[in-house]
Amino acid sequence: MAADMAADEAQRAVEAVFRIERSRLIGRLARMVRDLDLAEELAQDALLVALARWPESGVPDNPLAWLTTVARRGALDRLRRDRMQARKHDTIAREAASEDDRSIEEIEAAMDDELGDELLGLIFAACHPIVSPDARAALTLRLVGGLTTDEIARAFLASEPTIAQRIVRAKRTIAAAGLAFEVPRGAARQARLASVLQVVYLIFNEGYSATAGEDLTRPSLCAEAQRLGRILAAFLPQESEVHGLLALVEIQASRLAARTNADGALIPLTEQNRARWDRHLIGRGLAALARAEALGGCEGPYALQAALAACHARAKHVEETDWARIAGLYDRLQAVMPSPVVALNRAIAHGMAFGPEVGLRLIEAIAPSPALRDYAPLPAARGDALFRLGRHAEARCAFEAAASLTRNTREKAFLLARAAACA
């Protein structure tokens, strides 16, 4: 029994080390074999070797170098055994010729010369614009976050085969394009970085839009996105929008515990118990925002959204909210990232800052937008403006219309309660 428990503990310790190294290992192997499937398999095989050896030998000083060496050997073995396709053959055979007879120490020494940006290269590959948008997040979570296909499927409320299929297709696309898993430089980086940031924010929102308690995988997506943001900020410290995005997710995450009640019902920002906001995350978010702004990124879409989130974070009571500043920030956001949803939020902010009639006028102006036709927050905002104007009968109709448009049962209940309060 005791021996079993010790063995179990040893296995968990090895797996914990492997989880730390897994993404960088896959990044290195992908550069070597230019094939994500093969890289993942080689990494998995290396884990099996580590599980067999480390409990007795101890964890090596440089586990990543050790695992890379084992995986590289595995790749060479496979090469000899299977006679892989000519392209892969060429890539590895060149290295094989020169390295086969070198000692492990020499190979480990060579590993130390790695650029150290393999993780970043892997993130850029998973978020590459050639990969279909719905597959980028899944692939990133799989390769960088180390989530299983099942975990990703539950997080995205999709079936496991659907997610598996997405990942398979994405890997094929990347292999067919012959990506080198390098970090793009110069002008190419900006376009690629935009896609990376979008994926991180999408992962965050998948977690954030979930209601608490039902499935813990979803809130943990927020943590994955925050970690990705921190990694990006560490590797790309000069990119203001990276800090802007990090600021945005840290500040939004600070409200996770406050935005649902004990029954899991969503609590709107203005009603939240601000004492439950995570001040540590707010502090980190504000620091990241300051870095984004110091780098000249004040007008970046993520920095502006972070600045908006910061306005709420700084207000200790809802009455202290600086709506005029928020309205001004939405004006600027509308200029750099125009969208019907931003326009609606801008209208709401102007209504809060300058009175419900101003808000209502702006809401009516954008109401014909086709993108907002079935968008519950639009009639909900109209209802709120009408209610504040004392036009209760019209407000009630608007809240009921909003309730009929939302598919979220908790939100529906909230809107129906507001309609009932108009009586």
Binding site: R279, H280, G283, L286
Partner: protein
Amino acid sequence: MRVVVFVKATEDSEAGMMPSSDLLEAMGRYNEELVNAGIMVGGDGLKPSSQAKRIAFDGPSRTVIDGPFAETRELVAGYWLWEVRDMDEAIAWAKRCPNPMPGPSELEIRPVYELADFGEAVTEEGAAIHGRVADRLAGA
């Protein structure tokens, strides 16, 4: 989850012995790894307890006690604040820390309480006070 990792004091750290340049360099590389992995969100080294004060409470009385303090093994010489997925991950990262002291030494990993953990004991007023305090700490 958020954890604080304490570097426990030793006789050397209490004597104010500064780390060697080798150790400083190794620790710098280790910290860089932690940051690159998105794990480390804060940390500092602490001066010896000879520069510390304690405030002892007993009912209404408060007594200031000057350092140094005797129970070296219970003292702290530094700390990190980490965001990790679970305790296993924290342990794996802690194990690869270079020995922070010239002799035998210890790290201690402590999960951080969040306000939610206090449950019913927190009234809205109590929580609001905690929030205000934390605000000032965060510079919000």
